[in-house]
């Protein structure tokens, strides 16, 4: 085979829009439905607009702890009922907690939709929180902290980056939780947290797959519609992180560090702002795959690092653009930093070439397309857009935003945000 398509055409993928209905129940629950009959299965996502940033002061880890308690039964069901209702019929379920969202999801054969809608409504309305479950799940969450943060090499890096990059905003506390805070919590604190955030007007229900919309809507009205809307409104974080005016450098030493690591974190705007797409492109150009600039320079070329990544961590509130590298044996931190700095300076000084920009767009477009293969992939993109960006329609406009980004846009966001005075540097070193 010869004759590749011209480079500029490669990313021009025509995506059929996701055809979703969008309505809000009288109790405030937002409901997004996508009818699709490719396979007789269905994905259900319930996203709550609560995450690590909403943890009460001194109660870091509450949103995450809550995710665990949502599996421990209700007034009507035994613990782990969600597992039985999904795994026992050939499906699966799980949940995750991020800075801005806690999302619960199930995939089941489509004839089980009504049962799962009932079960999700049931755990929103009638969750049973006992002292015993509170204590055991708190231990599980602390165990997760011990495993992921303390035991894993570089486990503390994300915690340190967030803690040091933010001075005021609750993003500084991370998501997984602080064992001391969790141990100080009482059952009352937990019940209060649930009452504050687990309410229909703070949730988005997404159903994607093989169902009859009239029937599904009737079930949703019956089960979710019966849940009263509590009085008052949901508290929101209004704190604004003040602009950073000078570079901060933190050295951290730990025993389980096989090789030194470095991390740069720059403040960037929120996910629903116009520069977000160009920042995502910058991430791909710098850090995605073996064609990326960081791999070619730091890993393959100069062999200063064993791995090097860039990440545009776009959030509901202003997030971080991070660079991270794990050094190769014998390499010098100063050399690796100089090589990273050179790549940042290059992105600011020169416009990205058209084939490189096109490669990045193709990579992003391809992951968009793959995400649409499964019902849960579609449901997840909708729930995130609705909860984190208040814009479910973004699932149909995002690709166009990426394709419209120019080399000048990438150069501009690099110059605007990747400035020394706007960054926090963490050097994570062996003891």
């Amino acid at each position: 085979m010869t004759g590749s398509a011209p480079a500029s055409l490669r990313a021009q993928i025509a995506l059929t829009p996701i055809d979703f209905t969008d309505r809000t129940l009288p109790n405030g629950l937002r409901v997004l439905l996508v009818e699709d009959h490719r396979v007789p299965s269905v994905a259900i996502n319930v996203g709550y607009r609560v995450g690590g940033k909403d943890d009460p002061p001194g109660r870091s880890g509450f949103a995450h702890l809550f995710e665990h308690l949502m599996f421990k039964g209700t007034a009507n069901t035994a613990p782990e009922t969600m597992d039985r209702l999904t795994e026992d019929v050939g499906g699966y379920n799980n949940a995750f907690t991020a800075e801005d969202i806690t999302n619960y999801y199930e995939v089941v054969p489509s004839n089980h939709l009504q049962t799962l809608l009932w079960a999700e409504a049931d755990r929103l309305a009638a969750l049973r929180i006992t002292q015993a479950h509170f204590v055991t799940e708190r231990e599980v969450v602390i165990g997760e902290y011990d495993q992921r943060i303390l035991a894993e090499p570089y486990g503390m890096l994300d915690e340190i980056v967030n803690r040091e990059a933010y001075t005021l905003h609750p993003y500084k506390r991370g998501v997984i939780g602080d064992p001391q805070n969790l141990n100080a919590a009482t059952l009352d604190d937990v019940v209060q947290f649930h009452a504050t955030y687990y309410r229909p007007d703070n949730a988005v229900l997404v159903v994607v797959g093989d169902f009859d919309p009239d029937q599904a809507n009737a079930w949703i009205d019956r089960y979710f519609g019966a849940i009263p809307q509590p009085a008052g409104s949901v508290p929101r974080i209004t704190l604004v992180e003040p602009p950073q005016t000078a570079e901060r450098t933190i050295g951290y030493r730990a025993s389980n560090v096989p090789l030194p690591a470095i991390d740069y974190a720059y403040h960037i705007p929120a996910a629903n702002t116009p520069d977000a797409a160009a920042l995502d492109l910058a991430e791909t150009i710098l850090g995605a795959g073996k064609s990326s600039r960081l791999y070619r320079s730091l890993v393959y070329g100069k062999q200063l690092a064993t791995s090097a990544y860039a990440r545009a961590d776009l959030r509901e509130h202003p997030g971080l653009f991070e660079f991270s590298a794990i050094l190769s044996r014998g390499s010098d931190v100063a050399d690796a930093r100089a090589a990273l700095d050179a790549e940042i300076a290059r992105l600011q000084a020169e416009a990205v070439g058209s084939s490189e920009l096109d490669r990045a767009k193709t990579q992003i477009a391809s992951s968009f397309v793959r995400g649409r293969q499964t019902y849960n992939g579609i449901a997840l993109s909708l729930v995130r857009a609705a909860v984190e960006r208040s814009d479910p329609g973004a699932v149909n406009t995002d690709l166009g935003r990426y394709l419209a980004v120019s080399a000048a846009d990438v150069q501009r966001v690099a110059a605007t945000y990747l400035r020394d005075a706007n960054r926090t540097v963490v050097e994570y070193l062996p003891e």
Binding site: M1, I18, R38, T115, R128, D210
Partner: protein, 470 residues
């Protein structure tokens, strides 16, 4: 206990599931190219209320796997497959990786006992370029530096496998079930065999088995079959088989030996892995669906093994079963991982549970949901193009009519309690072998008493290169 709110009436009891909804599965079409390559094409369903995804996937299934290598070459097919993406006569490993990035494509190679599989997927506008690269992978360079790199990594990975009692028990079970016949040796090889795999042997294995008249190419997604056939013909039409005749496949394995109990004494194991199993059925056996349902009755959280071992007795965190089907009869395996002191009791419960399935028919109330786990998993498996391609590829590999894709659900539905009981009697419960990997100090005497013929092998004397393990 605190309950947040008064419970509204509709919530008190869960609604029952509705009747299963029907599905329209892809209808595959097939052709054989003049060079002998069998091509299977399928179009994804798209249209109103079926979102079209601009993606195309292909998988090349080569009928040459671990069963095609000799004992002393164990690991050869796995090493060959791993090397396919590490350089061709035209491009280095890094250049290939960069071309894949530029296309936003995915490229993968893997191997099993019966076949080696190379797969690709990419979005519609770039698929032709990705497919051309995929074709180029069939002309591998096997550069000496890459051979050494992959070999070193493969030998390193063995240590991880051997330190895991469950993984080691499966390797030993393979030997107990098949001895020196072609499914007996470890697919990943051993440190000794891997060390002896020269570049020339790898190239010869590739030359011998990777040929169009020994392969099936499945392609589908956002492409109609006629267009797919034309594309495959244009790209793979010049792929030539060597003049030599296609080598013959393995003979059927020896019939299962008499019941055996093998204990690998590994004092540093954290817990003891228990595997009970038997040589079972081939993929094209008429018993495939009965075996699949019987295994589902035993497996999963609510399956009998986990209920008996974990839920009722707390002997383990989990227990399950697996039916591995191949060209020649594969294995049925029941497995769990328990504290060393619980081994005698747990072995008894596993065997009793297997016998229980043979002794009495399964009640409908139990059978219906277990069958749902089978059909639900099937639907999840065909949600992606890669999943459909893999499913069709497996049917083709084992000479099962492709129409069975569309009949799968009906065939599972047709399995009744008598079918399950008969399969359990003939193939699951009759004289299973047992393999234990753990600290025998805690259970050795009890196992010797219950199974006088048990063979004990200290870990330091275990030799996976040998049919009898020592």
């Amino acid at each position: 206990m605190i309950e947040r709110s008064t419970v509204p009436t509709p919530f008190a009891t869960p609604p029952a599931p509705g009747a299963p909804r029907s599905a329209t599965l892809p209808t595959p079409a097939e052709r054989i190219l003049p060079n002998g390559l069998r091509v299977i094409a399928f179009a994804q369903r798209s249209g109103p209320k079926a979102l079209g995804v601009p993606l195309i996937a292909a998988a090349l299934i080569v009928r040459g796997g671990g069963a095609s290598e000799t004992e002393s070459e164990a690991g050869l097919c796995a090493l060959t497959a791993s090397l396919l993406t590490t350089g061709t006569t035209k491009a280095t490993a890094l250049e290939i990786a960069q071309q894949i990035d530029a296309l936003g494509a995915r490229l993968d190679a893997s191997s099993g006992f019966d076949a080696s599989v190379v797969s690709v997927n990419a979005t519609t506008p770039v698929f032709r370029d990705a497919f051309a690269l995929f074709r180029e992978l069939q002309e591998p360079a096997f550069a000496p530096a890459e051979v050494e790199r992959v070999r070193t990594k493969s030998i390193g990975d063995l240590g991880l496998t051997y330190s895991n009692p469950s993984a080691l028990a499966r390797l030993a079970a393979n030997r107990v079930a098949y001895g020196a016949s072609p499914y007996g040796h470890p697919l990943a090889g051993t440190a000794e065999t891997l060390a002896g795999l020269t570049r020339d042997k790898i190239a010869a294995f590739h030359e011998r088995w990777y040929r169009p008249d020994n392969a099936v190419l499945v392609i589908g997604g956002d492409i109609v079959p006629d267009e797919a056939f034309a594309l495959v013909n244009a790209v793979f039409g010049d792929w030539r088989s060597p003049a030599s005749a296609l080598p013959a496949h393995l003979p059927a394995p020896a019939p299962p030996a008499a019941a055996k109990v093998v204990v690998i004494d590994k004092p540093d194991a954290g817990r003891t892995a228990i595997v009970a199993g038997r040589v079972a059925i081939a993929r094209n056996s008429p018993d495939y669906y009965a075996g699949t349902v019987a295994t589902a009755v035993l497996s999963g959280y609510s399956g009998r093994l986990n209920q008996e071992i974990r839920v009722k007795r707390g002997l383990s965190y989990g227990a399950g079963a697996q039916l591995v089907t191949r060209r020649e009869p594969g294995m049925f395996l029941a497995s769990t991982l328990v504290d060393h002191t619980k081994v005698p009791e747990a072995v008894g419960v596993v065997l009793e549970t297997l016998r229980g399935l043979a002794q009495a028919p399964v009640a409908a109330a139990e059978l219906v949901p277990r069958k749902e786990t089978v059909t639900g998993a099937f639907y999840r498996g065909i949600e992606t193009l890669d999943g459909i391609a893999a499913t069709l590829g497996e049917l083709a590999l084992y000479d099962v009519p492709l129409a069975e894709l569309g009949q799968y659900i009906a065939r599972i539905a047709a399995i009744g309690p008598a079918d399950v009981q008969r399969f359990a009697q003939t193939t699951i419960a009759a004289d299973p072998f047992i393999v234990l990997v753990g600290n025998a100090k805690h259970f050795g005497d009890a196992i010797r008493a219950a199974h006088p013929g048990a063979v004990f092998i200290p870990y330091d004397e275990l030799d996976l290169n040998r049919a009898d393990l020592t």
